[in-house]
């Protein structure tokens, strides 16, 4: 099922949580809504689900305008951050709930509901736990039950709100791989919300980066990481360093020196240079480079991260060096960014 969000605005007590957001979700796609807290990602998910109504704009399921359909009629599977399992029901009853509350002929007989619940428990690898209560399960197990419960109603779209947010790191990684497998096996159109970029980049076909109620960029993990289209995305996804520079005649200048980077298509004037700390070329001499004094140095796993003070303004930038690189010990380091991008000065 394709989902199209068209110019949606959402206000809570006149405070806008989403400004004019549009997004096309393809059928069978696994898509991540990624952003810091307050970016509107959960609001967007709840709007798609029908847990909230848009202040303006429309949400289409396929060709059908679902904006004013109730959540019951939208037939979405929603997995809540804190699972929201019914604590007084067994695992099997939780999973069968969506079938049990159906009316008339669409409601399967009790035996069929039990069979479906067992089937789904097999799918989420929890066979044999039918009679347990949620309180007797671990966090990861509860999340799997919540997913099985959402899938029991054969939803058109599967929506997950920070599905792994409350779990510890190892369980998260395991469930991440597992969710990908389930998605590939069932082919549901799936949207999940996360603030963990690693989770989003690793798991999703496409990532929607959000900030302050707006979509900043939509793209594959490669798009988002390699060609960020705004300072926010550059700063939010992965590590980044920035320096205030000047563009003159297609050359980038740092204070009074050119740094050896050509920007023929950029307009002249003040700009900010963004680059990845690990994507730098270290130089010996310095004609056309960025040079600075090592102000701080720390070991980060397999590399060494050094903080450089650049020029008279003592701007600080971070770059990464190999652990055994002599420059790590030297007080002066010269480098040139490999891949970089200029944004107009804020």
């Amino acid at each position: 099922m394709e989902v199209r969000v068209a110019n949606v605005r959402k206000e809570f007590d006149r405070f806008p949580a989403l400004h004019d957001v549009s997004l096309d979700i393809k059928s069978g796609e696994l898509i991540a809504l990624l952003g810091p807290s307050g970016s509107g990602k959960t609001t967007l998910l709840r709007l798609i689900a029908g847990l909230e109504r848009p202040t303006r704009g429309n949400i289409f399921f396929g060709d059908e305008d679902a904006s004013h359909k109730s959540i019951q009629d939208r037939n979405v599977g929603f997995v809540f951050q804190h699972y929201a399992l019914f604590r007084h029901m067994t695992v099997a009853d939780n999973i069968g709930f969506g079938l049990k509350v159906r009316h008339g002929p669409s409601r399967p007989p009790a035996q069929e509901i039990r069979r479906r619940a067992s089937e789904l428990l097999d799918l989420v690898q929890l066979s044999g736990l039918e009679k347990r209560y949620p309180a007797q399960l671990s966090g990861g197990q509860r999340q799997r039950v919540a997913l099985a419960r959402a899938m029991a109603i054969e939803p058109k779209v599967l929506l997950l709100d920070e599905p792994f947010g409350a779990l510890d790191a190892q369980v998260r990684r395991e469930l991440r791989r597992w969710l990908r497998e389930i998605h590939d096996a069932t082919g549901h159109t799936t949207v999940f919300v996360t603030h963990d970029q690693e989770e989003a980049l690793e798991l999703a076909d496409r990532v929607v980066v959000m900030s302050q109620g707006r979509i900043e960029q939509v793209g594959t993990a490669d798009d988002i990481y390699d060609t960020p289209n705004s300072p926010f995305v550059y700063g939010f996804i992965g590590e980044s360093s920035s320096l205030p520079v000047k563009v003159e005649n297609g050359e980038i200048w740092l204070a009074d020196r050119p740094i050896g980077l050509a920007a023929p298509n950029e307009p002249s004037g003040d700009a900010t240079l963004y680059f990845r700390p690990h994507d730098v070329e270290l130089l010996d001499g310095c004609s056309g480079c960025i040079a600075g004094t090592v102000a701080a140095s720390r070991r980060v796993a397999g590399t060494r991260r050094v903080e450089l003070e650049i020029g008279g303004e003592r701007q600080r930038v971070e770059i990464e060096l190999p652990v055994d690189h002599p420059a790590a010990q030297k007080s002066r380091v010269a480098f040139r960014p490999g891949r970089w991008k200029l944004f107009p000065a804020a």
């Binding site: 959540i71 019951q72 809540f80 804190h82 709930f97 969506g98 509350v101 159906r102 959402a150 109603i153």
Partner: protein, 294 residues
């Protein structure tokens, strides 16, 4: 201020820290005072009630309870409780649902209003109904013209009882529902349940022990209420006397055995309520709201 030392002030559950432990004599004295008070003001009267009730033997006791007026008082009390408790369950759940689950104007006012019966003297609440429904009251002439009798009859007693016992269920459920939030309900709706199914399968089971606790207290008060009921009942023997009113009448007639026999039933009800309440608190303490306003 983030004072790292603050941690050491956390209460220890197994034993008090040395700094706040009283000396042994002081502890004994405190406990002795507490127990003496409880004994004199609570336990002793209770013993006396049963003692007086059985003062002339078990025969006199059963005979006193067999008296037609006494039987009628017992029946009326049960009837009033049977009407007012279910109504207050409905009112209490509605009010708690409205207050806990959504935002609306006048919510704070409604919350305050729910506490009104606790803060106003029961006699006043009775008098209000007299002023409203009495012969000279606001609605008195209209009611009389239509042949509706409220005051000095069962409807008046029920109304007064509902008024006095209204807060028990609502007060118990509001904090509980607020704490649980909307998550489970949203999950049920997303799975296709309608509003009624959501309430029946999800909301109600989530609050059932808190609800039972509230009902228990509501029932105890409904059966034991004196002040408000006394004003509206008219004290007609065999017709509008509830058990508490009947106790007073019998006592004023120097019928000690009769009065204390009925009183012993009320005391028994209190004891049963207390035991059930304790059992509920022991087993489902976490599921019953932490706030205790009564």
């Amino acid at each position: 201020m983030a004072d790292p030392e603050i941690k050491s002030y956390e209460p220890h559950h197994e034993s008090q820290s040395a700094a706040v432990t009283e000396s042994r004599p002081a502890r004994l004295a405190l406990m002795a005072v507490a127990f003496a008070f409880l004994g004199i003001f609570l336990l002793l009267p209770l013993i006396i009630v049963f003692n007086e009730a059985f003062a002339k033997g078990i025969g006199a006791y059963t005979e006193a309870l067999g008296n037609p007026d006494t039987r009628s008082a017992i029946r009326l009390t049960l009837l009033v409780a049977a009407i007012s408790v279910p109504l207050n369950i409905v009112f209490g759940i509605s009010a708690a649902w409205a207050i806990a689950k959504f935002e609306f104007k006048g919510k704070a006012f409604l919350t305050t209003l729910i506490d009104l019966p606790f803060s106003v003297s029961p006699v006043i609440s009775g008098l209000v109904y007299v002023l409203l429904f009495g012969a000279q009251g606001l609605l008195g002439t209209w009611l009389k013209a239509h042949g509706i009798v409220i005051l000095f009859a069962v409807p008046g007693i029920v109304l007064a009882t509902i008024f006095v016992t209204f807060p028990f269920v609502a007060r118990e459920l509001i904090p509980l529902m607020q704490e649980q939030g909307n998550g489970d309900e949203e999950a049920a709706l997303s799975l296709g349940a309608n509003g009624w199914q959501t309430f029946w399968y999800v909301t109600l089971p989530n609050v059932k022990w808190g609800l039972l606790y509230g009902v228990l207290l509501c029932n105890a008060r409904a059966m034991g209420e004196f002040g408000a009921v006394s004003v509206v009942s008219g004290h007609i023997r065999g017709l509008t006397n509830t058990m508490p009113l009947h106790v007073e009448i019998l006592y004023n007639e120097y019928n000690a055995v009769g009065a204390f026999a009925v009183a012993s039933l009320l005391a028994g009800l209190a004891l049963v309520t207390l035991v059930l309440k304790t059992l509920l608190e022991m087993r489902y303490g976490a599921e019953i709201a932490a706030t205790r306003g009564h």
